[in-house]
């Protein structure tokens, strides 16, 4: 009872703060500061037609590298914990609908994921969503069968290789232009064509492979039964 009242008071106080603060936030119609630079110069500087990807991969490439490291730590700990203490869920036979869907849909889903990664500098998408879509195709294949995934050593190798390539692509910029993860080591090309935007497509590919293999190994770890 006391806890509920305390919670209610907390919610009311937070609500009062929100009501007091929100009307004072000013949203200016014009873009200024670094946002203005991105929107006016971004396409010439990076050659990427998709400015969101330009900011994520080119201007803020180092932040993305940090994000990839965080995701690596998270998935590694999940896989480690689940291999020590397996969930050992009962794997029932998939129903007719699930079994047939898992035969039909993975190929189009994989294609969508590859498209999202390959066209990250042209249309909405990118390494993270593309990798997640590819991993969901893997998930569907796994749900359609009764088998239990074995060793995910190959997945771990692919993941490590992708992470290493990200770093090496960054050092390419150091060797050539004296700046880590410089996007311009390859030349921008014409914005809007498939081969353009310098390093962005390569980094998207690497991120996509890494995210796909990480999420797949997490999914496999949830099905893992323990023992060898």
């Amino acid at each position: 009872m006391i806890r509920s009242i305390f919670g209610l008071i907390l919610v009311l106080v937070l609500g009062a703060i929100m009501v007091a603060v929100v009307p004072d936030i000013e949203y200016s119609e014009e873009i200024h500061g670094v946002g203005l630079h991105y929107t006016s110069q971004g396409m010439q500087e990076t050659g990427s037609a998709n400015l969101v990807t330009a900011v994520i991969v080119a201007y803020r490439g180092l932040d993305t590298l940090g994000e990839v490291v965080v995701l690596f730590c998270a998935s590694t700990s999940v896989v480690l914990i689940l291999s020590l203490y397996p969930l050992s869920l009962k794997v029932s036979r998939p129903s007719f609908i699930v079994a047939q869907t898992s035969r039909l849909l993975p190929a189009p889903i994989l294609l969508l994921g590859l498209y999202l990664i390959a066209h990250s500098h042209l249309s909405p998408g990118g390494g993270f969503p593309g990798g997640a879509v590819i991993a969901s195709a893997f998930l569907l294949v796994m749900l359609g069968g009764t088998g239990v995934p074995g060793s995910s050593r190959n997945l771990a190798a692919v993941e490590s290789l992708a992470g290493l390539s990200f770093g090496l692509l960054g050092f390419w910029g150091v060797m050539k232009l004296g700046q880590f993860l410089n996007n311009l080591v390859l030349g921008t090309g014409t914005p809007g064509s498939l081969v353009s935007a310098g390093l962005i497509p390569l980094i998207s590919l690497v991120i996509g492979i890494k995210v796909a293999s990480e999420l797949s190994s997490v999914f496999a770890a949830f099905r893992y039964k323990g023992g060898h």
Partner: protein
């Protein structure tokens, strides 16, 4: 989406998401709660799409609606169904 219609659709979807969130808290079956949370995720993705944040919409649909729902379902399997 026309400019006049956008606030109506956005506010309707926001109210629907709020209602679904409250229902997910009080619904008896855990499975229903998980599916309702997935619905909230998917609605958020549609809202992002309406606000022209297509990159975010794609990520929300892939991660919020598929991956997290699946992990919730496995967690439900571990604690032994609906209790």
């Amino acid at each position: 989406m026309s400019d006049a219609l956008f606030p109506v659709v956005a506010i309707t979807m926001g109210i629907m998401m709020l209602a679904a969130g409250i229902v997910a808290l009080y619904v008896r079956r855990l499975l229903s709660a998980i599916i309702i949370v997935a619905f909230v995720s998917l609605s958020a993705s549609v809202l992002f799409l309406l606000m022209d944040a297509t990159d975010v919409a794609v990520t929300e649909a892939a991660v919020g609606a598929v991956v997290s729902t699946m992990i919730f379902l496995w967690g439900r399997g571990k604690i032994g169904g609906d209790r």
